[in-house]
């Protein structure tokens, strides 16, 4: 282990990568949504509170933030928050399904400095994408990308969650991104939020994991991954580019729409909640002094994985993936490439699997009532 990684594990003075879900409201309801988004939480941070948070992040010298949701552009003060952040010297990257990017908004976005956009897309055709993200969502994303290109936004990002149904489209995703002069970003599917129910049907098979590993190695730094595939490093001698570590509470954290702070975007659960921004001391106190983050910065036990020769390569995988599949945190990842996770999963009783904290899904629609005109 390098000295640097060792130091990163002990935590930084401020996060490198801070995700802030601005709202739980969303026009879509993707089956793998990590925050179970759909309906707005009435207790959402106000515009003034959001600006106050940005002041704190500026004082901590956070270089940039990742805004998401839900669909962040649904917030009426979306541009106000983005512009305020940039004015504080905090760069913004935001994730969107593209539904609110028309020609005029695309021009407004293109005029902002220090702004990156990630359009979410989970298939290179409507059938594959819409099965996960909902009817019409493929066409919506493509239209948004067209607007960004036409507005001269420059290299936006196309963000893909790799599933067993789109893993064969990786080359096509790359070609699509290249065609737009965009950058491709692929990340690992986690069983978080609504994903807790869809993960078993969507996560890549063990054979596909090797396919992903080889593909990522072949594309190196040209494809972004958020360093999310480090559990695949056990597949070969050559590590994937990036930091081989779980950054939860050490270099990464999540602020949710109501100001709760979690160790990472994939662990919205009481067990990983470090505090709330509305509490005295605000973000800095949580980041520097919360008991949870202090624990995460302690050396972690390899537990059941200690005797495995690959532990240095995979680091035991992803904490969130283990937690929401009911596996112990000091054991193998459910997608452990040696197959140990699969075996462990077989022994997990369904009722012992933790549920994510809040379900913001929209209520199922009532059966349409037909009115008879008299």
């Amino acid at each position: 282990m390098t000295l640097l990684v060792d130091q990163l594990k002990r935590g930084l003075d401020a996060p490198i990568c801070l995700t802030w879900e601005l709202t739980y409201a969303c026009n879509l309801e993707c089956v793998h949504c990590l925050s179970s988004s759909g309906r707005r939480d009435p207790d959402e941070l106000t515009t003034a509170e959001a600006k106050h948070v940005l002041d704190q992040l500026r004082d901590l010298q956070v270089f940039y933030i990742n805004l998401g949701g839900g669909e962040p552009m649904i917030r009426r003060d979306f541009f106000e928050i983005v512009e305020y952040s940039i004015a504080q010297g905090i760069g913004v990257k935001f994730s969107t399904n593209g539904a609110f990017i028309d020609a005029a908004k695309a021009r407004r976005l293109a005029a902002l400095e220090y702004l990156d956009i990630q359009i979410s897309l989970d298939g290179t055709d409507a059938a594959t994408n819409d099965a996960v993200r909902g009817d019409g969502s493929y066409a919506t994303a493509i239209k948004a990308m067209d607007h960004l290109r036409d507005a001269g936004f420059g290299p936006f990002k196309i963000s893909v969650v790799v599933t067993r149904h789109n893993v064969d489209q990786l080359d096509e995703f790359k070609a699509l991104a290249d065609g737009y002069g965009a950058q491709l970003r692929v990340t690992r599917l986690r069983p978080s939020g609504r994903g807790v129910d869809s993960w078993h049907d969507l996560h890549p098979t063990n054979a596909q994991q090797l396919q992903i590993y080889r593909w990522l190695l072949a594309h190196g730094d040209n494809v972004l991954t958020g360093d999310s595939f480090f559990h695949l490093n056990a597949l070969g001698d050559e590590p994937l580019p990036g930091l081989n570590l779980c950054g939860a509470g050490r270099v990464v954290c999540l602020i949710d729409p109501i100001g709760d702070v979690y160790a990472c975007p994939f662990v919205i659960h009481d067990e990983f909640k470090a505090g709330n921004l509305r509490d005295e001391g605000g973000f800095a106190k949580i980041w520097k002094h919360s008991t949870l983050f202090a624990e995460l910065r302690e050396p972690q036990s390899a537990g059941a994985c200690a005797s495995c020769g690959q532990f240095d390569a995979c680091q035991g995988g992803c904490m969130a993936a283990k937690f929401f599949t009911g596996l112990p945190l000091d054991g193998p990842d459910p997608e452990c490439v040696s197959g140990d996770g699969e075996l462990a999963l077989a022994g997990v009783a369904a009722e012992s699997v933790p549920r994510p904290l809040g379900d913001h899904s929209k209520p199922p629609r009532a059966t349409p009532v037909s009115f008879t005109r008299k």
Partner: protein, 98 residues
């Protein structure tokens, strides 16, 4: 005296400065450097490297900056190498000689 190659001598005689679009954030291991244009994050893994990078702009040459930070001749090659990679990642750039 240790012999140094021509490229090293050239760099030592150059005036460098922190790129104006780069922010440095102190960390226990040294500092994080973030480039707002390239969106790249670079780790400065030693407090002495951070000190040198901060000083560069106020000196006519790299050699003078190293001197000012108390970096002895023996440590020069390591610092020259570190600065080269920082020039490559655009964290540090050649500055106009005044």
């Amino acid at each position: 005296m240790k012999t140094t190659d021509a490229a090293t001598q050239t760099l030592l005689a150059t005036r460098l400065a922190l790129h104006p679009r780069v922010a440095l954030r102190p960390e226990p291991f040294g500092a994080l450097a973030y480039h707002y244009d390239t969106r790249r994050l670079v780790f400065l893994k030693h407090p002495d490297v951070v000190a040198v990078v901060r000083e560069l702009g106020s000196h006519p040459t790299v050699a003078a900056a190293l001197d000012a930070c108390g970096i002895g001749e023996q440590r020069q090659p390591a610092f020259v190498q570190a600065l080269r990679s920082l020039v490559e990642s655009n964290i540090v750039m050649e500055a106009a000689t005044s």
